[in-house]
Point group: C2
Chain length 341, copies 2
């Protein structure tokens, strides 16, 4: 691995800077070529680091920021009035080329707004997309995008999502020729809204995409496709509904457990599996969700991430940076544009 | 309960006429005032009934149909070329007033097409909606609509869905003043596509709806709202994604069970709960999905329904018929129109 520098938003997230710093120290041990720029309150960072590390101090720098984006800040407010926030600082370092990627567990809306405004989309990309991988029945993973960066997507945007998802599945997922599907309400070509049908034709016509057709919601998890393309509205609804269902299941098992001894044992046994699944359908908690289509790498970790979860997001950022995902996306989008011109 | 007549599509579904006839006989025992019109192959029906009943024979009639809508028939083909199908026959009896409701486990697309074409929408209703209730954490239920009857819905259609869902939650769910929410990608008023934001304003302005605002996908199951309104595309995606997730969970537990003895026991214990949940997030399998907004009652049971599941769908139809749901919807839509004129 070549030398990489990641900028971290130390103040983002619900659980405090120590979670993020703790994940960062673990990552420094894991990746010998990695360096960090810690963006946040210098006093807080220095005081924590003093107690926890010394030998690694040549592999990070601290950039003090006076402001912090709060979890309930309006994205527009964060963008306009918190220009000196730790989040904006981390993104700025990517923009200026001082960092290869940034990771934040902060307010998603604000992160989207600031990242889009600072980094801009790649040439040929209309809109950025939020993407993450979901577990499948055979233990593989499926990349679902968009998860909410762009609520309404026309056929061209869906086509671009297909390209971007393919690049990610190839470069990060290690899938040679990722199978790409469009999420729809039926598998037949006549099904769905006009934009979906048109996107189906565009994907079928492109040699750059291994398009397999429409899939339905229950196909997300069944290994039919490696990349599932949808607009940000439906993607977000699909993901959040699944998250809600797992929460419901955990609740039901807890309630059942109160009934009798057998249920209690069952609950004890089933709970770890359910919690694991909950983390996996709550992907930014599991391995971070990536904001792709921008001229830089931005990985979002869950607001409530543990240091282990934040470490996953760091690993994702390291992989995307070392595989130069934005460049690969740019190249593939250019090929697509040439094919269509 | 007053005397009620239901028309059943005996030939619909994957599991054969005996499932439906068996459910019908159970229903006759359960509801003394209920009568059936069995639409289907007379030979098949008579031969089954001969072996299974005699004393109830004055409470059903048989209408022979030469055709049958197959599960993979194109809806348009079914509508145009299978006018003598058991499905069309059952719906026609509702249209002619000879039946108070109909139930089918057949091809959903065909059922939608034939029901819409024959029964027409109620005055003031733009588009019909497919609705079902989902389980919630506190053991209540939430009515989610539209589940796929109308893929794209404008603000007016969402408003009408809110009214129709409220009527169902009130009349069937027994909820006095159902809390209505719109499914969106965030709770803030500025979130989501224009049609959703406009629908939010329309619902907030109406005295006929107890509107509580936007909810996200994970709120479907957490008792925040009694009625959750969405377009047919997102509703279908939400429901099917959840179905897929439960299937994944069942798969994972099965796979885990092969690992060691403890996992095997856990799988044995957890499976009934998961199967129950699977049935409930697969609501037409659980209690039927209702097609509402039409001038007649149409309940869809799952293609793969057992006789117990089909009996649920019959019960749903009985309830809707005895509470005269279409009339109640018509009245409430009229009130809404008056409020807005």
């Amino acid at each position: 691995m070549r030398h990489l520098t990641l900028a971290l938003d130390i103040m983002g997230g619900d659980n405090g800077p120590h979670i993020i710093l703790s994940a960062a120290l673990k990552a420094l041990n894991e990746f010998p070529q990695l360096n960090f720029i810690f963006c946040g309150d210098e006093g807080v960072i220095t005081s924590w680091l003093k107690q926890h590390s010394s030998i690694l101090s040549n592999r990070y720098s601290i950039v003090h920021c006076d402001q912090q984006v709060l979890m309930d800040d309006n994205p527009v407010t964060a963008l306009r009035h918190k220009k000196d926030s730790s989040m904006a600082c981390a993104i700025k370092h990517v923009k200026n080329g001082q960092a290869d990627a940034c990771v934040s567990a902060g307010n998603t809306g604000a992160l989207l707004a600031i990242a889009c405004s600072q980094l801009k989309t790649l040439s040929g990309v209309n809109r950025p997309a939020l993407v993450s991988s979901l577990p499948t029945a055979k233990g593989q993973k499926a990349y679902l995008l968009d998860l909410g960066a762009t609520v309404q997507s026309d056929a061209q945007t869906l086509l671009q999502n297909a390209v971007m998802g393919s690049v990610l599945a190839q470069e990060i997922g290690g899938i040679k020729r990722p199978k790409v599907a469009i999420l729809n309400v039926g598998e037949e070509q006549i099904k769905g809204p006009a934009s979906i049908k048109q996107a189906g034709r565009l994907l079928a016509d492109s040699e750059h995409i291994n398009y397999i057709g429409f899939v339905e919601g229950d196909d997300i998890f069944n290994d039919i496709a490696d990349v599932i393309v949808t607009d940000g509205f439906s993607g977000n609804i699909a993901l959040k509904s699944c998250e809600g269902l797992v929460k419901l299941l955990i609740e039901q098992i807890k309630r059942d457990a109160r009934r009798n001894f057998l249920s209690k044992i069952m609950a004890k046994l089933a709970m770890p599996l359910l919690r694991r699944l909950y983390l996996r359908v709550n992907p930014d908690q599991y391995n971070g969700a990536s904001l792709i289509g921008l001229r830089g790498i931005v990985v979002k970790s869950h607001g409530n991430a543990s240091d282990e979860a934040f470490l996953y997001a760091i690993r994702e950022a390291v992989q995307e940076a070392s595989r130069q995902v934005p460049t690969k996306i740019k190249d593939k989008i250019e090929n697509l544009l040439m094919e269509r011109s």
